[in-house]
Amino acid sequence: MELGSEEGLGISSEDYDSLIATTDVELLKRAWRNEKASPEILQFQTSLVQRSREQIQLMEDTVEEFPKNCTDPLTVSLYQMDLDRMLFVLRSYLRTRLQKIEKYFIHISKSDLWNRLSDQEQKFAKKCTDYMEKHLQRSVLSHLPYGYQSILRQSISSEEDDMVPEPRLDTFVFCKSKGSVGAFQLDDSGDEIVDLVADDLYVLRYKSIKSLVESGQIDLV
């Protein structure tokens, strides 16, 4: 997957960096890191996942072809390792998302986070909700007196859903911006302003930089 060294291709190191940063492998790694570090579920990278899977398929075919062509075993093993790593990142990405869904399915299905899931994930979330509801209904709720049987509310007198687990958005995350974002307002009152410089590392509340993560201006690490 990696391109050759920069001298070999005769391009400047800046071009090389930007070229590397936009390969699917790098993009997938970025999506994976963001997903791992963010407390809430992010937009599903439909086309990126699609492309990565095609590339993995291609690599698998290549690796399978090697023994027939009597390629050097070392080369085969290097390719195999690269393939394994990419597969790991892809699996871990999908897994991290599923685990968030398992935890916050009710919260996700009631808010606009729902649109961030892939079709398959939506199906999974629906089933999760059904089964958990069934289980809780059967073991707890159906035995409780009338007025206290809701899965979402503590009792009939609650005015809103106050029993839904939600991710903690005010938790701190490490982040790094690729380009200079400039002065950025951290809270609504405008008291705290941070000058986000490219490639500097910050520890900020997720809530305040949420919009930058979603627009891809900043990366979580």
Binding site: R91, L94, R95, L98, K103, F124, C128, L136, M163
Partner: protein, 198 residues
């Protein structure tokens, strides 16, 4: 004291090590449920009393009102505790699917109640449906790979004609093999092999 049993129930849950389960405490759980219904009866009788005295339910602030509030709050607290108990156990059960696999060993099965067993089966099926739709097994590859091959030792007889990767392996107990990590992982998670490090 109101609500003590429920908190004991949760203490029992939180004293477990993470991702470990003890047997479902049906007795205590039932006691708390009974307590809930007692609170409800008390609550209703106090409300009836307020009504019989011809007082307005919304504005009355006498002893009966505050008695009713205490029963209401105790009931709600018990509900939260019961839900937390069932829900947190369910979360551990979910995580077992990732760590142990689709079939739970007998000793874990014995600790679940009927509804939990069913929940595990359902949840596991949902996950499998997702994976088969994607045509990608997500339960392997749990740690970042270092080397494509690992050395493993057999902990039990698996069979002498297991075909992996076009090669027949003689998997007898205590034998040592060099396998592809992805192939070996399923056996390791089932406890049939162990990885030899170093």
């Amino acid at each position: 004291m109101y609500g003590r049993r429920a908190s004991q129930l949760l203490k029992e849950l939180s004293s477990n090590e993470k991702s470990q389960l003890t047997a479902f405490n049906t007795d205590m759980f039932g006691e708390v449920l009974k307590e809930c219904n007692t609170h409800h009866l008390e609550l209703q009788s106090l409300m009836r009393k307020i009504q019989e005295e011809g007082l307005d339910m919304q504005t009355t602030r006498n002893a009966d009102h505050f008695g009713a509030v205490i029963h209401h709050l105790s009931l709600m607290r018990n509900k939260r505790c019961l839900m937390a108990y069932a829900y947190n156990r369910a979360e551990v059960i979910q995580s077992l699917r990732w760590m142990v696999g689709p079939v739970l060993p007998q000793e874990i099965q014995a600790k679940l109640n009927q509804s939990e067993k069913e929940y595990f089966k359902n949840h596991s099926a949902a996950l499998e449906a997702y994976m088969s739709e994607l045509d990608l097994d997500l339960t392997v590859d749990m740690v970042p790979p270092k080397d494509p091959y690992i050395r493993v030792r057999l902990l039990d007889d698996i069979g002498d004609d297991v075909v992996l990767d076009d090669q027949t392996h003689n998997f007898v107990r205590h034998s040592i093999h060099l396998l592809k990590r992805t192939d070996a992982e399923q056996y390791i998670s089932q406890g049939l092999m162990e990885e030899l490090s170093g």
